[in-house]
Every structure is written in C-alpha cells, then in structure tokens.
Amino acid sequence: MSEWRYGLNEQRGTLMAVGIFLVMFVIYVSNHPAGLTANVVQTASNKGVLLAFVAMAQTLVVITAGIDLSVGMIFILTNALASWLVLGTPLETAFGVFAVLATGLACGALNGLIVIYGRLQPIVATIATGAVFFGIALLLRPFPGGSVNEDLADMMTGRIFGVIPSSLVALVAIVLLIWVPFSRSVLGRAAYASGSSEVAAYMSGVPIRRAKFMAYTLSGLLASIGGLFLTFFTYTGEAALASGNAYTLFSIASVVLGGVSLFGGKGSAIGAIFGALAFRTIGDLLFVFDFDPLWQPLFQGVVLLVAVSLGAFGLFRVRNRLEWFG
C-alpha cells in the first residue's frame, strides 16, 4: 500500500462521515426553497455546531471505551448558568464565560473521579451525575429566562465578512485548541490505547487513569462550550429535561455516524463533528421535503437504530463463539 492509502485507511470513518454529510447537505440545499444562500448556511451551521460540540464531548469519553450519559445535562446546566453570568461589561462577560467553562470542566472532572477512582460503571454513574447536573440547572432556571451579552451572542452567531458563519469558525478554533493538541498528546494517545486494549496498554506502561480522567474532564469542558453557544443562539437559559436527554442521545448517534467505535480506541472528534452535522441535516431533510415535522423524532430515532445496528455486522465474522462474551 502506498502512503496515501494508509492515510485514507486511518481516516476512513471520518471520511465516511464527511461523505454522508456532503451528500445530505447537497440534497438539503438543492431542495431548499432559498437555495445555497449565506443565510441558509448560517442557520444550518448554528444548529449543527451545538450538536457538534456535544458530540465532540461524547467522543472523548467513548474513545476510552466509556460513555457519558450526562453530556446533555452538562450542556443544559451550563446554558442555565450562562444566562446568569455572561452579561454586562466586557470584563464581566469574560468572567462569566470563564466561570461557565470552569463549571463544565468541573462536571467532567467529577464524572471522571467517580468512574475512574470510584470504579463505578460509567452508565449508572453518569445517569446519576446527570440528575445532579439537571437539578442544579433547575435551581438556576426554574423557569426559562435570563439573558446574555447580546453583542457577544450576535458576534458568535453571525457571519464573518458576510459569508462565513462565525459559529463554524468557533468550532474550527475549538478543534484546533482542544482536540488537535489532545489527540497528539501523550495522554490522548494513552486514551486511545486504553480504549483499544486495556491489558496491552497496561503492559506498555501507558498512564491509563490519568488519560481517562483527562478525557472525562475535557468532555465536560466541550459540553459547556456547547451550552455557551446554546445561550448565544437563544439569548436565554432553560432547564429543559427533554432537550438534555435529546442531546445526549444525539451525541451518541453522531459519534456512531462519525465512525467512532463504541467499543473504544477508534475514531476522531472530527468524524463525530461531521456525524453531528450529518445527523442534523438528515433531521432537517424532512422539512425541505415538506414532511410534517412530527415525523422528525421518529426519523431521527430510526437513523440512530440503523446506525448502531450496522456496527453489529462484525459479529458474523466471529469464529469462536466464546468471543461473544468478551
């Protein structure tokens, strides 16, 4: 195999997600009544970016062969918090942004502590912490409300040079600031290694616990960036249980569509981002084809069901039935 084939092989999952997204987006735009205008792109990007952040958050944990069912709740909690704090003078706003991100970081770190050092199963532990996060969100915003520094919000949700959606730019910046360094750091490598084979990682002297802790913590941070953007788009905070649950669920769907293996060790956040954008576009396809929006939840559910079932086909290659039991 030549050099580029290896590159292709490494990025196959990601490229697949990019492909799905492009196809879906082309279908979407070509059937959209307005066509490909800056406005359409801006709206699509603003919606997609929210899920993309949460999907990135999920990816980090899934890479370590874990799962975080509280990402949606961290997203909601930080939204509620931002609607209190990201206000006022530029300095106050900056402080607010900092506090929101620190909160997300702390939520992720709490998950990490409980799962890694408390040795609890990630599923139950994160459902329970999710309840706590949601409870705090509800304390902060028993009713939808609050506001946000509108200058900042408009800047982050508007367009740069009248064409490029600034939310997209922000997404790229976060990828460069968080994902790229993480994936190339020793701990990031260790996170992949422990997700792929914990025994082999141990034998190779990889810092398994620190890597997992880092993954959970950064996951919380990314979810809080998502929460911040939600506030920018809506100008309010709302402790919406259904929305939190939906984002958790969609983050898993995006991760699967993005070629990240739920068994750990494989995939990239870039793939998950395109998975998220594709998932959003698939959901929106119904609108351009004039389907009743009522069908959207069902449609998204079916996409998720099909996506997770596709992963099962490796099973038919298993020749020793004992391998079923891991």
Binding site: V186, A193, G205, G265, R319
Partner: protein, 516 residues
C-alpha cells in the same frame, strides 16, 4: 558461589534465590540465573517448569516473593514493565502488548514518544519506527499500518521492534518465533545474531530444539520451578537435554489400567479430518467406549481448540464428527450436551468458564441439568436435592453445606464441583481441558480414580493435560498435538516421558515444518 566482587566486573544481570508462589502453588523456587552481555542464553523446560514466571519477574510484570536481582552488580526491583524497560530489561511478549487500533509507529513509541512542544512529534516517531523496524528485520512493515491489519508473524516482528526502541541491554524473547514462518525465522535469527554482536544480552525461550542449537551460546534448564543446570550450548545432546527436563518423581498414584479389548462396536467419538481456521488441521482420531485418551503436546498447540470444536463452540469447522458411528452437527454446547450426543466439557478455567463463583454449590451443581430437574420450567427441588446429594457423596465434595457460595471452597473442591456439575448429566463422552491444573495432590488422585471409574462404566474420555505424568499414568492412548495437527499416537508402554516430550518438541517425529 564465592566469586569475590572485586576480582572481575559483575555479570550484566544476576538473579539470586528468587522464589514466587501463586496461592499454594510454587511457581519458582530459589532460582539462579546469570546473564552475560553479547551472548544468547536459551531457557529450556517443560510446561510449568517456571520459565514464564522467571520472565515475568525479570520484566517487572510480577514481583518476586523472595530473592534479589542485580543489574551490573546493583540491586534492582521493577514495579512495572515500563520500569524494567527503562532500566534496560525489555521483554518481547507474545503479541500481548500491542494496541490493535493504533499504528505500528504509534505502538513502537507508545511508552515514551518523542515530543515537540509537549505534543507527539510524528515525524520523529516515524523515524524511530523505521529504524527499529529495520533493526528487527521488518522493513516491509509500513510504520502507518494498523496493528490489527497485520498478520500474526508481522505483529511478532513489530513486538521485537518495539522492544528494540527502548534500546535495551537485555532482550527477552518469550517464544519469539512461535508465530513466524520459516523465512521470517531466518530473518529474526540474523537480527538476533547481529544484536548479539552489538553487545546485547538475549534471553531466548523456545521449544524448538533446532533453533536453540543454531542460536544459543548458553543454555539453562528449568524443572519444577528450579534451575537444574547451566551449560554451554553444544555440550549436551538433545536426548540428554530432554532427560534433564523430565527427571520428575511421581507425585501421585494412578489407578491400574485395564487390558484393552479390541472392540468391534463403532467408537463412541470419532473425528474425521477436523479443521478450524489455522489452529486445527486434518485431525482424525477415535475414542472407544471405556477408553481414556490423552491429548499431549506443548501448551497452545491446538488442544484447547480441538475440545471447543467438539463441544460446538467454534464456528466454521471443517471435517466431520461421529458419535456412536452417526454423524452429528455440533452447533452449540447445548446441542453437544443433548441426550443423543451426551458430551460434556470440563473447561480449562474453572473461575471464568466452569463456575459462577458467587452462586452456591447447589446452584452451580444443578446448572447444567436444569432441563432435567424441571418440568414446565419449574425446578423440582426434591429431585434437585436428591441428585445433588448423590453427587456430593460420590465425589466427596467438602463444604459447609451446599448453600455456600462455591467461591468459598478450596481450589480442589471447586474443581470437583465443576466435574460433578457435568457428571450430573451422565455424559457418555467426557472432554477434559487440563482439569488438575493448580489443585492439590489429594484431589488430583481422586480425579484420576474417578476418570478410570467413569471409563469402566462405559464413558469415552478425551483428556488434555499439560502434566506428562498424568498422561502416562491415566491414559490408554495419547495423541500428541503439534501446531494444530496430531503428530504422534502413543499407546500402552510407548507412553513414556521421553517419547512424550520428544514428540511434543517434534524432534524425533517426522519434521512437520520446513527447515528454518
């Protein structure tokens, strides 16, 4: 050993009085080993002689209970494989330490990647990988290939390359060639010789005598957890070495074997040209009623797979299996243990495959006969109690009642529960996968008696053991397995230690592989 420390430079590595026990089992006792730079040192010994424990201690995987290790005269102790490697002692494990989803280059520098501005420097990592791969004679492996996409032989070479990237002074190869083709072996050998010339000390564990003859400068034979003798290579014949590896006194009495009658009836179990992936090839044999047939050979030659295939666990087997002369389709353990087939498998690992440790003795014993002690899915408790009582008495299982968790019993009694669990089904064909590993002598003795009693009652028994004494003492015939095929069949008085070990090493039988 009264070499004065001042007289000469200390050897590169020395191990002094090292012992290790697992539970009650003595794995290594007072072991001594001296490793010199620039030499290839072969470690020999049969299964369970203590070789792998020795390596694990040297490589920092397990800690010794007693004794000390000296590196260039300085005492050392390793808490992890990484620590041992950093000190210069690196082990090439059998594809255990490679991470399947990462690339070759990632794997080679996994423990200590080159960094630039705190991040992994992929270009430098690539160079390190290329250099290490070249040194390991694996130039054809692309540094960007994923481990899981490589064939087994290439993974083994990557393991060696990964070890070399530590720039070790002592390199340990545990069965380093077991997965390699003849051409690859030749390549590895030239690499090893070059490393020796560069001044590395190599510790080489292999079961292939001709390899040792070709490579080794020094040999040490282990037996029963002790080192028996160290000698310069070429000063002993193969036959003498085999003698050294045996030399065990009988530790258990075996029940007498009956005269074997030539039986006209179709054999209880017959295999014809059984194959499965690369692990089983053209296996044909038969086991008659009342016969105890042993499976011999070194660990991991396909014996386990053979038993699993017979019991319906493996998918995609080729060839056919006949029970009482009638072909049977073995699709699942359930089908294999059905009344018409009547097979039972006593699995290898009682803790993960045989028992549910937190459940009670009662629940474990009746688990394989649930279908027979119930009607309409409801368990008949009286019937259950009756059957269990009989079995507990028959096997003399010692426990504080049958309602204690089976995990609270001793290892020997746990093993009895596993066997009893299957005897509850009154199987006609009994497959045993090393049933006496790690249990006490008394229980072993009871198991031997039991096997013979079952055979006398008409059961056909196929018995894999890593203990040669057992095969000699218990079996009417022994099939020696090597590399997924049966290389030799021994019967009656031909079953000797020498014959078993020689054919297990495949030094006397027909050469099964093309010469290296």
């Amino acid at each position: 050993m009264t070499i004065s420390d001042a007289s000469a430079a200390p050897p590169l590595f020395r191990m002094d009085g090292v012992s290790k026990r697992y539970g009650g089992v003595r794995a290594l006792e007072n072991a001594e080993l001296t490793v010199e730079a620039g030499r290839i040192h072969a470690i020999l010994g049969e299964n369970g002689a203590g070789k792998s424990t020795l390596i694990k201690i040297m490589a920092g995987v397990v800690a010794p209970d007693e004794g000390r290790m000296l590196l260039e005269g300085n005492p050392v102790s390793f808490r992890s494989p990484a620590e041992a490697s950093a000190a210069g002692v690196t082990c090439v494990f059998q594809e255990l330490s490679l991470i399947p989803d990462l690339s070759v280059a990632d794997n080679i520098s996994i423990s200590n990647p080159p960094r630039r501005f705190g991040l992994i420097d992929r270009r430098a990592q690539r160079l390190i990988a290329e250099e290490a791969l070249a040194r390991a004679g694996a130039d054809d492996v692309h540094p960007r290939a994923l481990i899981k996409d490589l064939p087994l032989s290439r993974r083994q070479l990557v393991e060696i390359a990964k070890a070399l990237a530590w720039k070790p002074r002592i390199l340990i190869l545990d069965e380093g060639t077991s997965a390699l083709t003849a051409a690859d072996v030749a390549k590895v050998f030239s690499v090893l010789k070059r490393l020796r010339a560069e001044g590395l000390a190599l510790l080489y564990i292999s079961h292939r005598m001709h390899e040792i003859a070709e490579l080794a400068d020094q040999c040490t034979v282990f037996r029963n957890g002790r080192n028996i003798l160290s000698f310069a290579a070429g000063t002993r014949t193969d036959s003498e070495i085999v003698e050294m590896m045996i030399g065990r006194e009988y530790s258990s009495a075996f029940p007498p074997k009956p005269e074997r009658a030539t039986d006209k009836a179709p054999p209880a179990l017959e295999c014809r040209k059984l194959g499965w992936m690369d692990s089983l090839r053209d296996i044909s044999f038969a086991v008659g009623k009342g016969e105890v047939v042993g499976l011999g050979g070194l660990d991991g030659q396909g014996q386990r797979e053979l038993l699993l295939a017979l019991f319906g666990v493996l998918r995609g087997t080729t060839g056919s299996v006949l029970v009482d002369g009638k072909p049977v389709a073995l699709e699942s353990p359930k089908a294999a243990s059905d009344a018409e087939v009547g097979m039972a498998l006593i699995p290898e690992d009682r803790k993960t495959e045989g028992l549910m440790l937190p459940m009670t003795v009662r629940e474990n014993l009746s688990f394989a006969v649930l279908d027979r002690i119930s009607s309409g899915g409801i368990i008949d408790r009286d019937k259950e109690a009756r059957l269990i009582d009989d079995m507990v008495k028959l096997l003399a299982i010692k426990s504080d009642g049958i309602d204690v968790p089976v995990g609270a019993l001793s290892g020997g009694n746990q093993q009895k529960v596993v066997i009893a669990k299957w005897l509850m089904r009154q199987p006609r064909i009994i497959l045993l996968n090393d049933p006496t590993r790690g249990i006490d002598v008394g229980t072993k003795h009871e198991i031997y008696q039991l096997l013979r009693r079952l055979a006398d009652a008409g059961a056909a028994i196929l018995f894999y053991s890593t203990d040669y004494d057992e095969l000699i003492g218990c079996c009417d015939r022994v099939l020696v397995v090597y590399d997924g095929g049966i290389v030799r069949e021994l019967a009656d008085d031909d079953i000797t230690q020498h014959a078993l070990i020689a054919s297990a090493l495949n030094v006397e039988g027909k050469t099964m592989e093309t010469a290296a």
